[in-house]
Each structure stands twice: as structure tokens, then as C-alpha cells.
């Protein structure tokens, strides 16, 4: 789960990381009031889960409260990479002498959180890594011992020469690590970490992603989820315990298991179609899940055909068949459906489907071909 910059900054501030004063606004009035309270020049920043906000015009400097209001008026409601801006962060502007990058990610190969720091901050770290890898220091942390003071100071010395700044940075490393662990993050970033002309080390931007698997035990963080920043169908799916990701194609897919769901999408593409979504109904069978899945798939108006691909291991295919029958009785389908199921209780499932006017297939490739054909009006495959 991604959280917004203003939310991440609150978590980092709670650890004691120096961050310029600021608050979040949903209206130009609020933005103006916050700017007035801060006094002096402010930055108005769009709060969306997308990179490149600055380039898209979602980050603007304002010299006073009146200008902050104007900036907020422009930015609120703006589209950035297909996402509508509903909130802006209004924060005190800071003078910058140098910019550095500080981040922690869970590194899969190292099987540890790894610090990445670079004195070349303010820009895309992947670019730095590709062009000038010597400007990045990577330091894995054993979570059983945590970030030790000597490690924190190694990181500080990589960024700065001035001992005061090194110490300030080392302290920030410890605080960032603490926030990272407490919030169950998969990523935490300060970009840029700046030194002001007065020699202070402060964080100007923050990004944090929380491991979804942590949310059950961290309910105060689960509340930070901003559903207005997400695709409505994905929110609906999550609330129904389904994993759903919307895509651009027209073959609606409903599959059990993530690997098979991906393989099914790939096969749709292989036979000349485009998948409309990724949807995993999960391992355990439950007709209710199928009903919800069909509701979500059919609410996408670009779907021209629906494809079920169920391999019944733990999942009972008769449960899926019952779900399809129930769902289509409630809401008759407007697009054709292709059902492939095989495995546990397959004979019962086929019988249920036949009795209700559906036909079932057993071969995955044949089913995908048929769905693609129906979706494209017989042009492909």
C-alpha cells in the first residue's frame, strides 16, 4: 500500500526527522489558511500516487498565502498520469545548498532491508544507479540487530564531509530505519534530503510503501489508505477479498491462483486478444466470491467477453459453477461467457452449468481462443 507524501512526513516527523512545517488541504481556502499560518513562501504539492509530479505541473512555489490559494485552485482536480488530484500539501519553502538521496528497500536477493544513499539527490535514483553507480552506497541491515551506529555513520560520511552534517544525517538514518520497521515498509525514501545554506540537514520529500501483509496488525496504518486515489473497481474487489487489477483490454478474466491468472492473461495475448483485467478469486472456493468477481468484471464497459479459467485443486469447481449461476440470475449477462473448468468435482460443475444453459470446456487453450474470438468479433485467432 502506498501512502501520500503528507502521511509519510507525519510518520517521519514522529521519529524526529527535521521536516519543514506543512499541512494537507482539500480546498483552495484550506490551502490559503495553511500558507498564512506558515508565513512566507510555500510549496503547494499534489498528493497522488504517481512519480513525476513536478514535471506534470503538480508542484508549485507560491510567494504568499494569496498565491498559494491560486496554485491550489489550479492543482486540485488536475490529472496526473490518469489520477485526479484531491489533496495538496502546503509546506514551507526551503533554500537548498545540496541535495542527497536516502532510501531503504527490502532487497529480495540480500533478503534484508538495504539502505541506498547517494549525494546525487533530487533525481530518479534508478537513473543514478544506471549512469553513475559509484555515486550510490548500498548497505544491507540485519533486522535482528537493526541499524548499528557505526553503519549509520558510514552512510553519513558517504553523503557529507562536514562532521556536523554527517552526525545529523546519521541520526536521520536511524530515525528513517525506525519508521521503516515500525510501519512495516517495503520502501521508504527521502528524496531529496537537503542541506540548507545555514548547514541544516532536512527532509523535503518522503515516500513510503507499506507491505500489505502488515496491515492486519497495524490498523492505525491501514486507515491511511486513500481509496479516492485508487481505481474504484480495485477498491470494490479488495473489499470482497479478491485480487483485481484493471487493464486496457476487452477479455474479462476470472481465474483461481495468481500464477494461473497471469498465465491466462498471457495466453489471451498469445492468441491475439487483450486481457481486460487480472483477477484471482483465490484458493478456497466460495460461490459468493464468484458473484462478486462477475459483478466487478461486468461493470467494466470495455469487456466484450468473459473468460473463466478454473483449475480445481482446493477450489471446488461446483462452487464456482454455482457462483456463476447465482450471479447471472441476479444480473443477466450482456456479453458472452466462456467457462473452462477442470479438477475437483468437475462432473457436478458441468452438470450444474448445463442445466442452466451454459457450456463448459476443459482445455485451457481452446477456451482462451474462443474468448478472444468472441471479444474481437471473430477477427483474431
Amino acid at each position: 500500500m502506498n501512502i501520500h507524501e503528507y502521511q509519510a512526513k507525519e510518520l517521519l516527523r514522529a521519529e524526529g526527522i527535521p521536516i519543514p512545517a506543512g499541512d494537507v488541504a482539500t480546498t483552495p481556502d484550506e490551502a490559503e489558511a495553511i500558507a498564512r499560518k506558515i508565513g512566507g513562501p510555500v510549496v503547494v504539492k499534489a498528493q497522488v500516487h504517481a512519480g513525476g509530479r513536478g514535471k506534470a505541473g503538480g508542484v508549485k512555489l507560491a510567494k504568499d498565502a494569496q498565491e498559494a490559494r491560486e496554485r491550489a485552485t489550479n492543482i486540485l482536480g488536475m490529472q496526473i498520469k490518469g489520477l485526479t488530484v484531491h489533496k495538496v500539501l502546503v509546506t514551507a519553502a526551503a533554500d537548498i545548498a545540496t541535495e542527497a538521496y536516502v532510501g531503504i528497500i527490502v532487497d529480495r536477493a540480500a533478503k534484508k532491508p538495504v539502505f541506498m544513499v547517494s549525494p546525487a539527490g533530487g533525481i530518479d535514483i534508478e537513473e543514478v544507479a544506471a549512469k553513475t553507480p559509484d555515486k550510490i552506497m548500498k548497505l544491507p541491515v540485519d533486522t535482528r540487530y537493526g541499524l548499528t551506529p557505526y553503519q549509520a555513520s558510514q552512510l553519513g560520511f558517504f553523503l557529507y564531509r562536514d562532521v556536523k552534517q554527517v552526525r545529523a544525517a546519521a541520526k536521520i538514518m536511524q530515525q528513517l530505519y525506525s519508521a521503516f520497521m515500525k510501519a512495516g515498509c517495503s520502501l521508504a525514501e527521502i528524496n531529496p534530503l537537503v542541506v540548507t545554506p545555514q548547514g541544516e540537514v532536512i527532509a523535503l520529500d518522503a515516500k513510503m510503501s507499506i507491505d500489505d501483509n502488515e496491515l492486519d496488525r497495524l490498523p492505525h496504518l491501514a486507515k491511511l489508505r486513500d481509496e479516492t486515489a485508487e481505481e474504484p473497481s480495485e477498491v470494490q474487489a479488495r473489499n470482497a477479498n479478491l485480487t483485481f487489477i484493471k487493464l486496457d483490454g476487452n477479455v474479462g478474466c476470472c481465474v483461481n491462483g495468481a500464477g494461473l491468472a497471469m498465465a491466462t492473461m498471457d495466453l489471451v495475448k498469445f492468441y491475439g486478444g487483450e486481457p481486460a483485467n487480472f483477477l484471482d478469486i483465490g484458493g478456497s472456493s466460495n460461490p459468493e466470491k464468484v458473484v462478486n468477481a462477475l459483478r466487478i468484471i461486468t461493470s467494466d464497459s470495455s469487456v466484450r467477453a468473459i473468460l473463466f479459467n478454473i483449475f480445481g485443486g482446493i477450489t471446488r469447481t461446483d462452487d464456482v459453477a454455482n457462483g456463476i449461476v447465482t450471479a447471472t440470475k441476479q444480473n443477466p449477462l450482456k456479453v458472452p461467457i466462456v467457462i473452462r473448468l477442470t479438477g475437483t468435482n468437475e462432473e457436478i460443475a458441468v452438470k450444474i452449468l448445463k442445466e442452466n444453459g451454459f457450456s463448459a470446456m476443459t482445455d485451457m487453450d481452446e477456451a482462451v481462443k474462443k474468448a478472444v474470438q468472441l471479444a474481437t468479433g471473430g477477427k483474431a485467432a
Partner: protein
């Protein structure tokens, strides 16, 4: 033969009284797995289905049953602790089925298990099955059949799909291992490939990877350098958008890394067979097994006769030992190439 599990496997089920644990314990017993005990804290002294003793802790269970393997069905918040408890109790093979274990928990669990000298498979995996002998986890037994193909995969149902097709084509399996869909797991592709290479029963390997991470690329490099047995690979997620988690916590393209294209390229570079569709496994494996038989068959017979003549002349060895010795020499030579 097989890898990791066979008839000598004696199993404890952690979370045996839970919904999933009890259902799959029943299934495993029916398949023939030697389930010797279960653990549910607070239910020690009771019996599962009037037969399998339940213990309060792994230490009790191991002491009383001498089990060498455990399978974990406990809920995510307690799974990390359950894995560490098993390793601490002396279990050498730990199979964690639980989906949803926080990744930071795994950063502590992984080194702990390593230091205890145990092997962890999973978490978030379907477990493993050595057809006809034992199954640990949730892979449906009836889709498998004993044979000589090693199967290793990051997925569950996709594996079932492929295994089912292999079985129908008469390609039985030595062992099928699901290593799990999480970003940090206990056993990776290389661990399994190494074991399959060393397993005399396995003649070829089917490997199912997916987007995210670099495990498949490292496996491809390993295959190129060290594998003499043919490997056919598949990557799921060619149509997955970057930055999104495709169901599995580990199935995500981060930035520009972990794409299906780069993994497939690594497979091709390693000279592996690349299955474009799940159903391609059958043909590709059959072709490789055939072509493998042909060229190796000729030099093998030649070498054997050569070696036999040599050793007969040199050592005047008995007829019974002649055959055995040169064969091993040939096998070693074949491996070096």
C-alpha cells in the same frame, strides 16, 4: 529417488486443528504421507481424528515422535514464529503454506533457519509432492503420477495445470516443489535445480517462474554452468503492468527490473527450452529427452567398452565389478561436459 521428501519423511502439522490444517492433514494421510503428530498450543494430549497425537509445542512433538519434517498452516501473524520454533526444535525440512507473512518477519526468519541448518520451503507455497510416496502441503495428489520429471515453480494452480498436462502425456514426476510467491522465500530455484541435478531418478526439469526479482535469471546462469539435465522454463506475467503486485507479493516489476522479457532472454541465453504456453512443456520436454538419449547413448557405449577393455587388461577384475566401475566413470565425464 526424489528430492527433499520420500517415504522416510515423518511429518508434524503445525496448526493441525485449524480449518485448512485439518482438511489438508486428512488429504495427506489419505495420500500415504506419514503424519506422526500435530501442534496446536493448548490442545496437547488430544488426538486428531482419534489417531494423530497433538502436542502443545514443536519441542514436545519432535521429542515424542522423532519427526524430521513439518508443514505449517498457522495464520500469518504467527507463521514466522512457528517456522523458528520448528527450526529450534531440530526439524530439518520446514514447509510453510501460510500466505500473507509480512516480509520483514522473513528477514529475521531466514537467517535463523539457515543458522539452525534447516531447509525452509515457502512461505506462501503449495508445498511439495513426491508422487506415489509422500505429499507435504496442498498439491492435489490425483493430478500427479510417479516418473522422472522434476517440477519447480513459484506458483500453485499454474503448477497444477502443467503437472496435469505432463501426467496426461505420460510424463510422470520425480518431485514437484512449489517454492512460493513471496519476495523472500527459504528455498529458491537454484536450490531445487541443484537437488534435481543430483537426483539419479530425475532426467529433466520443468520450471515455472514469474515476474519480479531476479531468481530466474540467477537460475538460468546456474543451469548454463552446472546442469547436464535439460530444463524447460516458463515465465508468467508477460502482460503484467509495471509497479503492480500480481496477486503474489513477489510478482511485481519494480522500475524496469523483473520483467518477463528479461527472464525469457536469460532462459534463451542459457540454452533452455522456453515454453510460450503452459501446454508447450510436454512437447519441449519430450523433444529434449529424445535428443538427449541419442547423442549420449553412442559415446556411452563406446566409452564403456573402452573402459571395460582397459580395466580388464589392467586389473583383471572380476566380471561383476567391470560393469559397475566404468559406468560411474562415464557418468562423471558426462557431467564435466
Amino acid at each position: 529417488m526424489s528430492i527433499f521428501a520420500d517415504k522416510s519423511t515423518t511429518l508434524i502439522v503445525q496448526g493441525i486443528t485449524g480449518r485448512d490444517g485439518s482438511f489438508h492433514t486428512q488429504q495427506m494421510i489419505e495420500y500415504g504421507t506419514r503424519v506422526v503428530g500435530g501442534v496446536t498450543p493448548g490442545k496437547g494430549g488430544q488426538k486428531f481424528e482419534n489417531t494423530v497425537p497433538i502436542f502443545n509445542s514443536m519441542h514436545d512433538a519432535v521429542r515424542e515422535t522423532g519427526a524430521n519434517t513439518t508443514v505449517i498452516y498457522v495464520p500469518p501473524p504467527f507463521a514466522a514464529d512457528a517456522i523458528m520454533e520448528a527450526a529450534d526444535a531440530g526439524i530439518k525440512l520446514i514447509v510453510a503454506i501460510t500466505e500473507g507473512v509480512p516480509v520483514l518477519d522473513m528477514t529475521r526468519v531466514y537467517p535463523f533457519v539457515k543458522e539452525k541448518g534447516a531447509r525452509l520451503i515457502g512461505p506462501n507455497c503449495p508445498g511439495l509432492i513426491t508422487p506415489g510416496k509422500t505429499k507435504i502441503g496442498i498439491i492435489p495428489g490425483r493430478i500427479c503420477t510417479p516418473g522422472r520429471i522434476g517440477v519447480v515453480s513459484r506458483s500453485g494452480t499454474l503448477t497444477y495445470e502443467v503437472v496435469y498436462q505432463l501426467t496426461r502425456a505420460g510424463l510422470g514426476q520425480s518431485t514437484c516443489v512449489g517454492i512460493g510467491g513471496d519476495p523472500i522465500n527459504g528455498t529458491n530455484f537454484i536450490d531445487c535445480l541443484k537437488a534435481f541435478e543430483a537426483d539419479p531418478e530425475t532426467v529433466a526439469v520443468a520450471m515455472m517462474g514469474e515476474i519480479g526479482g531476479t531468481d530466474e535469471q540467477e537460475a538460468a546462469a546456474y543451469i548454463r554452468k552446472h546442469m547436464t539435465k535439460p530444463v524447460v522454463g516458463f515465465i508468467a506475467g508477460q502482460t503484467a503492468p509495471p509497479g503492480r503486485r500480481m496477486g503474489h507479493a513477489g510478482a511485481i516489476i519494480s522500475g524496469s527490473s523483473g520483467t518477463a522479457a528479461e527472464k525469457i532472454a536469460a532462459f534463451e541465453e542459457a540454452g533452455m527450452g522456453v515454453a510460450k504456453r503452459p501446454k508447450d512443456f510436454v512437447e519441449l520436454l519430450q523433444a529434449r529427452l529424445k535428443s538427449k538419449m541419442k547423442p549420449t547413448a553412442k559415446p556411452t557405449t563406446k566409452q564403456i567398452t573402452k573402459q571395460t577393455a582397459k580395466s580388464a587388461a589392467k586389473h583383471k577384475a572380476k566380471a561383476t565389478t567391470k560393469k559397475a566401475r566404468p559406468t560411474t566413470i562415464t557418468a562423471k565425464k558426462a557431467k564435466k561436459r
